[in-house]
């Protein structure tokens, strides 16, 4: 057992951290939010060209660093620290993850594009009626034609490709008969309704009407196990992002408590505030531990149970730390002015992303706790 980063991983973290500190301060980020596009293409180009982080989890054969889940964890935590808007999770972790898993010609074709910042992928798996259930798919692929409606597809507006689940057979919630497709985002028959999300990225309702899908676009048939693995990898990466968000929330709140005076002393001198900050600290530490645990178990048979444990714990931590960061800041914490409120918003959305605490506890129980 070993909990230390390799030298390369440490370098990756430090260079990304330095880069974001220099270029991605809060005001710059908020400017992107106000622009209303949900991302800044120049930042993405810089990630690819200046920083080279988009290659982190890819094999050297594809032009990558030869990394994997740990590298994604390192990157995502740093992106969380700066509440970065750009689509590393969707493009690199999810889209890249799918391509790595299926391999072959399409991987050889597209992964270099991801690394270069040219290929951006959005994940169109969840449906309006489906809540957090990946098997609840009404979108159909029949006779080479795709029809359906996918909900809240983050980054669809600026994606080059869409990663889509579609039913080729079986009933609405059957676990088999689901294919995984990767199609050009500008295919004929795709329409979108774009909007911003609460934390400032863009998302879309995506509608497919008789979209022609050739065999080359089908990454995998009967793909639910693959989709679940991809989403597990994404969930762990999201947990890492949450760790970054929560560390900053805690640090900012601790700073504020040391400076803000009420009743003639710093509010951090009040024992109730001290213990609250301690409880927040313990939640953050445990979130970090669980994220590491799940990351390191991604390639084991315990993967799904470990990921659901981690997401449940991280989801609770996100609520507790976020709410208390705002509470200790007081009124200023719920304004748009301070960064803390925006970290709180991100933490809040993470709670439900890829499934709520209850969803993951139930999934964990179904996997491990037979009566």
């Amino acid at each position: 057992m070993d909990f230390n980063f390799t030298e390369e991983q440490t370098m990756l973290r430090d260079s990304l951290s330095r880069y974001l500190a220099n270029t991605y301060d809060f005001d710059t980020r908020q400017k992107t939010v106000r622009d209303g596009k949900g991302w800044n293409p120049a930042v993405w180009t810089a990630f690819a060209e200046e920083l080279g982080i988009l290659c982190a989890p890819f094999s050297e054969a594809h032009g990558g660093l030869g990394g994997g889940a740990v590298e994604n964890m390192v990157v995502m935590e740093e992106l969380g620290r700066a509440i970065v808007l750009e689509p590393y999770l969707n493009t690199v972790v999810i889209g890249g993850g799918a391509l790595k898993a299926v391999g072959g010609a399409i991987a050889d074709e597209l992964i270099p594009g991801i690394i270069a910042g040219q290929v951006r992928i959005a994940f169109a798996a969840y449906e309006p009626q489906g809540r957090f259930h990946l098997n609840d798919v009404t979108t159909t692929l029949k006779g080479g034609q795709l029809n359906g409606h996918k909900a809240v597809v983050e980054g669809a507006a600026h994606a080059t490709h869409l990663l889509v689940t579609a039913r080729t057979g079986g009933g609405q919630r059957d676990t088999d008969g689901i294919a995984l497709l990767l199609i050009p985002a500008d295919s004929a028959g795709i329409t979108r309704r774009d909007y911003l999300t609460v934390h400032g990225t863009s998302a879309s309702e995506v509608y497919f009407e008789n979209v022609a899908v050739g065999d080359a676009h089908v990454l995998a048939a009967d793909a639910l196990p693959l989709v679940e693995r991809i989403v597990d990898e994404a969930t762990v990466a999201l947990c890492a992002e949450a760790c970054g968000v929560l560390k900053v929330l805690h640090a900012q709140t601790l700073d504020y408590a040391k400076q803000r005076k009420q009743f003639g002393k710093a509010i951090g001198d009040f024992q109730v505030i001290q213990h609250r900050l301690v409880d927040m600290f313990m939640e953050v530490e445990q979130a970090v531990s669980m994220t590491m645990m799940a990351t390191l178990k991604l390639d084991t048979p315990e993967r799904a149970a470990a990921v659901s444990m981690a997401k449940a714990k991280v989801g609770k931590a996100a609520k507790f730390v976020g709410q208390n960061a705002v509470q200790i800041h007081g009124g200023i914490g719920i304004t748009q002015e301070l960064a803390v409120g925006h970290y709180f918003k991100r933490a809040t959305l993470i709670e439900n992303q890829f499934g709520s605490v209850d969803f993951h506890l139930s999934r964990y129980e179904n996997l491990t706790l037979a009566a």
Partner: protein
């Protein structure tokens, strides 16, 4: 000991129901159903109906325009208005400065201000908090210097900054805590002033909160001239009014009737939301959270009723009302958490203008549209009106003698 309504109470309830059914402005319900925000004229629409009926201020003494209802009748009233989902009335005139004026004001002040509060003619705001003073209200620094004007009358010259001033952008009048004796310590040397918001020197600047709302403001006061007769109660004794008002504010804050209505809404949403082929309300854990909310809400309701019974038997609203504030706001916040959880994936879309052009349109269920902004917004309830930590300090000191 008896929970039953008397025949008279039952008749009163029927009267109330009929009145709401016949007189409540129906268009307000439509706005709420569509998740739209209420504007000033929406609040006033209902206010004016009630003013015309003489039911606008049930808690006030009859001599000033109150209804003379019993505690039970007032309970019925709040139950029925919540059941019918009537918009809440703005509290700043009716529940806050009004009671201060009829309790501490001069006959002239009562005559001038109270009728216009009742009629809705004046919209009030509250100038309490300052950037440096959050829960520590008494540390406020806005100065009011007294001087004799060229007309020989007495005035205050007010300078300072207030913040978190709700709805100040619409206000005709504001009640302000200001420091009239800078040498006095903390709670002494504070006076309670009524200020015409159109007075030169007042600047109102919006504060945009996390959900994107413009509810609160900064209010800057620069050489604002206020006649001395606009002061309520003695000079330097404004803290008496402030304490009275804070205790008053805390009773209403339990919000039982409104929370009951919110529970019903969430149940309806959970019935209509799919979760793996079943309604979300069939999910044992979601259902359990609702059940626990209902239990806690009942506990709050009966604790409030016991408190009111204590008040009607002569005890005023004591520090126990801090319990109502803490538990009431915790429940309100849990309700917004449940609503956001029910929204699931559709909690993420943001349907308000980010300040530059409006891109809102309907996506996902109506119930999900405002879930996240309301969740963010309601974090304020455990902060304002004396944070819940301060309320615990109050109970520790005043009730437990610690």
């Amino acid at each position: 000991m008896d929970l039953n309504f008397s025949a008279a109470d039952v008749a009163f309830r029927e009267e109330v129901r009929a009145f709401i059914r016949d007189s409540y402005p129906q268009y307000l319900n439509d706005k709420i159903d569509e998740g739209e925000e209420m504007a000033k004229e929406d609040f006033l629409a209902w206010h004016k109906v009630l003013a015309a009926k003489g039911w606008i201020a049930p808690a006030w003494p009859t001599e000033y325009g109150g209804t003379g209802w019993t505690a039970t009748q007032r309970y019925i009233w709040s139950e029925e208005t919540a059941r019918a989902d009537c918009v809440r009335l703005m509290p700043f005139g009716l529940s806050m400065v009004g009671p201060v004026i009829y309790t501490f004001g001069t006959p002239e002040q009562k005559a001038k201000y109270l009728p216009r509060i009742l009629s809705g003619e004046d919209w009030w705001c509250q100038g309490y908090s300052e950037p440096g003073s959050g829960s520590d209200l008494a540390s406020l620094r806005t100065r009011a210097e007294r001087f004799t004007g060229e007309d020989g009358k007495e005035y205050y010259r007010v300078n300072g900054q207030k913040t978190w001033t709700t709805m100040a952008q619409h206000a005709d009048w504001g009640f302000f805590l200001v420091r009239t004796d800078p040498a006095a310590k903390m709670q002494e040397g504070i006076s309670f002033l009524l200020i015409d918001m159109k007075t030169p020197g007042i600047t109102v600047r919006p504060i945009i909160t996390l959900g994107g709302e413009h509810e609160v403001n900064e209010v800057w006061l620069e050489d604002v001239i206020v006649p001395v007769e606009n002061r309520v109660f003695h000079e330097n004794k404004g803290w008496t009014c402030a304490k009275f008002l804070l205790a008053h504010e805390r009773t209403g804050i339990a919000g039982v009737a409104a929370s009951k209505r919110s529970v019903e809404r969430i149940k309806q949403v959970a019935r209509n939301t799919e979760d793996g082929g079943d309604p979300l309300l069939a999910n044992p854990f979601f259902k359990r959270k609702i059940a626990e909310l209902e239990v806690d809400l009942a506990a709050l309701e009966y604790t409030e009723l016991r408190t009111l019974a204590g008040e009607s038997s002569g005890k005023g609203p004591g520090p126990e009302s801090s319990l109502l504030k803490i538990k009431g706001t915790e429940i309100q916040q849990r309700l917004t958490e449940l609503a956001l959880e029910a929204a699931g994936t559709y909690g993420a879309p943001y349907f308000r203008s980010m300040g530059e052009g409006d891109n809102s349109f309907a996506v996902g269920p109506d119930s999900a549209r405002r879930a996240a902004p309301v969740y963010f917004n309601m974090r304020k309830t455990s902060i304002y009106g004396g944070s819940n930590e301060i309320q615990r300090n109050i109970i520790a000191k005043m009730v437990l003698g610690l």
